[in-house]
Symmetry: C2
Subunit: 488 residues, 2 copies
């Protein structure tokens, strides 16, 4: 199957393998950003949401989790910063969105982090939520946006002092898409939105499918001599070595794989796992030690590339020895893992299965590689094959043009008060809004930034551009609050 059939928004995954996927569990957990050691202090609440906002036959409710921090809130006058939760446990996003915690006092803001349905604790049908396509039917961006809109209205109605508070949507990645879409679809609930690293244009017909992997490759090319070249070389080296039983054993040993490779097919999965590893590194190529998807050193791609500087005389075995060291940078920076686990590439706080379902329905994001402008094996975008896999997996077929119809595609001219921020290192910037649309739908590009760097706690190693971006964002927030105060 394709090496680029589906990509989880935060974490690139290569392909919907029926067997592999079905064995994946919907996982969740709480995580603190160990590198920042910041303390976040919130209260947890649950709100009764309708399971189906758009129909009346299913009239049941479920408990949507949301977190509130109002230590710095100035009642009546202060705004509410509302994080539009994405595909995972909301406590993880709460802990990884230091920006909101750091500006709360300056803005006198209440912070709310709302969990996305079907993730974390917010399961519409409890343990049965993922049992079949009938139960998964209410997992969609539209339902999630309606949850947020209903919750915001109820918070403003019931939370003492919140009635006149201006609400600002904040989100990163898919959460950033939701923040922008919330402002676009429910502008009376939020006065503006910060959509950080939100690839709202990564949909059919909007951007070239090859841009994503091209950016990944550029990150590697810029981080060490021959780094991208050697990764491009590695695929055929793996193929050659994996063609024998001895080779498979050598690969398994060299990479310290927890589950040794047994077959040629295993080596295909192994290559996809490596490809996803490089994608993830491009997303989290932060200038300081961090542990967003995995614990990592500062500028991790530079560290990775130290192991991939070979010239063209390198042997296949030497090359792959280097690749294995590079992979260990990502998977074993802490040195605590005895072996590398190829069944997962990132934090368990993300809801992979839920995102696969979303990719198989609305979130159709074409990606492709050509092996020339990128360092991967060539793979065209094949919608039909993708659709067929979705049918097998979930009994649903994706609707390729629905998101464009629903959210307006590239025509954002009628909207207002949205900031689209993107890091140029982030592959997802390929589908992001990186130029101003109007005076109030604006783009901020952070040249040295990876995936929503601006949403993280500040750090002494932050590049100046991200400091400037955060200052600009706070400036817009203040202007929106003022604007709302002046409104009749």
């Amino acid at each position: 199957m394709s090496t680029s059939m589906v990509v989880l928004l935060l974490v690139g995954v290569q392909c919907l393998h029926v067997v592999a996927l079905k064995s994946q569990l919907f996982t969740r957990g709480d995580a603190l950003d160990y590198s920042s050691k910041k303390i976040v202090d919130y209260k947890t609440f649950y709100f009764n949401q309708k399971i189906d906002h758009f129909g009346f036959f299913e009239n049941g409710t479920f408990k949507q989790r949301y977190l509130v921090a109002d230590q710095h809130w100035q009642q009546e006058a202060g705004p509410i910063l509302f994080y539009t939760g994405n595909e995972g446990d909301i406590t993880w996003f709460c802990n990884n969105t230091g920006f909101m915690w750091q500006i709360a006092e300056e803005l006198g803001a209440m912070l709310v982090f709302a969990e996305h349905r079907y993730y974390g604790d917010s399961l519409p049908f409890g343990p049965d939520s993922y049992s079949d396509s009938k139960h998964l039917n209410y997992l969609s961006s539209e339902q999630a946006l309606a949850d947020f809109a209903v919750l915001i209205r109820e918070l403003k109605r019931l939370w003492p002092g919140a009635r006149h508070s201006a609400v600002i949507a904040v989100g990163g990645s898919y959460g950033g898409m939701l923040a922008a879409w919330l402002r676009m679809k429910y502008p009376s609930t939020v006065v503006g939105a910060l959509a950080a690293s939100a690839p709202i244009w990564q949909f059919p017909g909007m951007v070239p499918c090859g841009d994503f992997y091209r950016i990944v490759s550029q990150d590697f090319a810029a981080s060490g001599p021959n780094c991208d070249v050697n990764i491009r070389r590695s695929w055929s080296a793996i193929d050659k070595i994996a063609s024998s039983v001895e080779g498979l054993a050598w690969l398994s040993g060299t990479f310290s794989l927890c589950a040794p490779l047994k077959s040629r097919q295993d080596s295909v999965f192994f290559k996809e796992w490596l490809q996803e590893t490089w994608v993830n590194l491009a997303m989290v190529d932060y200038p300081y030690e961090a542990s967003f998807l995995q614990p990592l050193p500062p500028w991790p791609i530079q560290v990775v590339c130290k192991h991939l500087g070979f010239d063209s005389s390198v042997s296949d075995h030497q090359l792959l020895q280097g690749v294995s060291e590079a992979a260990r940078v990502y998977y074993n920076y802490t040195g605590t893992h005895a072996c590398l686990n190829t069944s997962s590439t990132a934090t368990g706080s993300l809801g992979f299965l839920g995102w696969y379902y979303q990719a198989c329905t609305e979130m159709v994001m074409p990606l492709c590689t050509d092996g020339v402008q990128d360092m991967f094996e060539p793979q065209a975008w094949d919608f039909q094959a993708f659709s067929d896999e979705c049918q097998v997996l979930f009994g649903v077929r994706p609707r390729a043009s629905w998101v464009e119809t629903q959210y307006g595609g590239k025509d954002l001219s009628a909207h207002s008060n949205i900031i689209f921020s993107n890091g140029a290192l982030d592959p997802w910037s390929s589908g992001g809004v990186t130029r101003n649309i109007s005076d109030s739908v604006v783009a901020i590009v952070i040249p040295d930034g990876a995936h929503h760097l601006d949403l993280r706690y500040d750090n002494e190693r932050d590049p100046p551009a991200v400091r400037a971006a955060r200052a600009l964002e706070v400036g817009y927030f203040k202007a929106w609050v003022q604007q709302a105060r002046r409104a009749p």
Copy 2:
């Protein structure tokens, strides 16, 4: 039950009578406006729409009907005027929206009339569409708007020469609400909207529930001496006379009822039928002979009031004799009916049952009377009783605040390019937008206008204000098309 529990958007109905309603059939038919004798020439098409835009479990499609007239269309340059069909047969709206036909040539416009799902020929489950709440589940304004957005995108993609055509949404009444909401929710599909007589604020908490019937009463008060006073008096007169068997027989005879009154309960329905009659007259109080809901003379309320000019010395029997003559103005202007049928008050082209379902789900429109500022029997708005009736009738309960959350309530500040036109005679203007919101969300009030008079063919008896309104509307249309042409 309440005399004001539910009102069909175009046709006021007093109450959801379980028995009465269940016997109502979903009817449809074609109708030509006999008074205008204008010829409309269109082609009929059908488009495969998803039954459920917001979920992927139900993946079926149905055929949505739409009508196209492109005689005057200037390919590429000319706009598309897109009528967002409301609760009835689209051919009826097509024939009753002369304004679009009359401006097509001037604008070089293509006309499209799109039928609303569950009405006319556009039945998602064929004859089973109304069989139960499971089949009715996809009848909602959100699904209808998605139908329109998908259809517009496909028309622009597939209709030769339409790719760059600016689309303008036009609608009246509930169709006007849909036109405004289409621009608000899908601004990339339509450059602007004319929402004629669209009561988008007739929802809980937005406007006083008594305004609707107050306007009806004002229309009668202004159309003849003592007219409203005598209608107010008539209710107790009916009660007194209906208290005896002889009285019931007298009423049945005097009103030439097809189905004689047999009981006190029948007389309650009879009063509701009369109340609805007066409401309908207020909606269609046009200055010329017309046959929108019924064939009627010019300024029909004035004609009605000629029979209701009694002073306070009138006897109950004299008074009701006058009321019966007044009712005949509405029901038997053509003189062709041997008896008056109390089971229906208007054209069979409207889908009453569908609208009842919509009122029982999203379209919760509080109405009330006090007998003081209006000429009706006092009746409070009772949401709980209404909800209980909906539960019995359809197995669903209305969601009182959903429309406000979904469509933004009174906060329209983020939107653009919408005209809200209202006639001051029209009771639905109570829930309409009658003041400018901004430079591009504007209100037009037609003092002598009834229900979306501006959408009708012009007529030599038209008041100057409606001529001015139409000219303004065309001016805005041209400006929007220009604006779209200038866009990048």
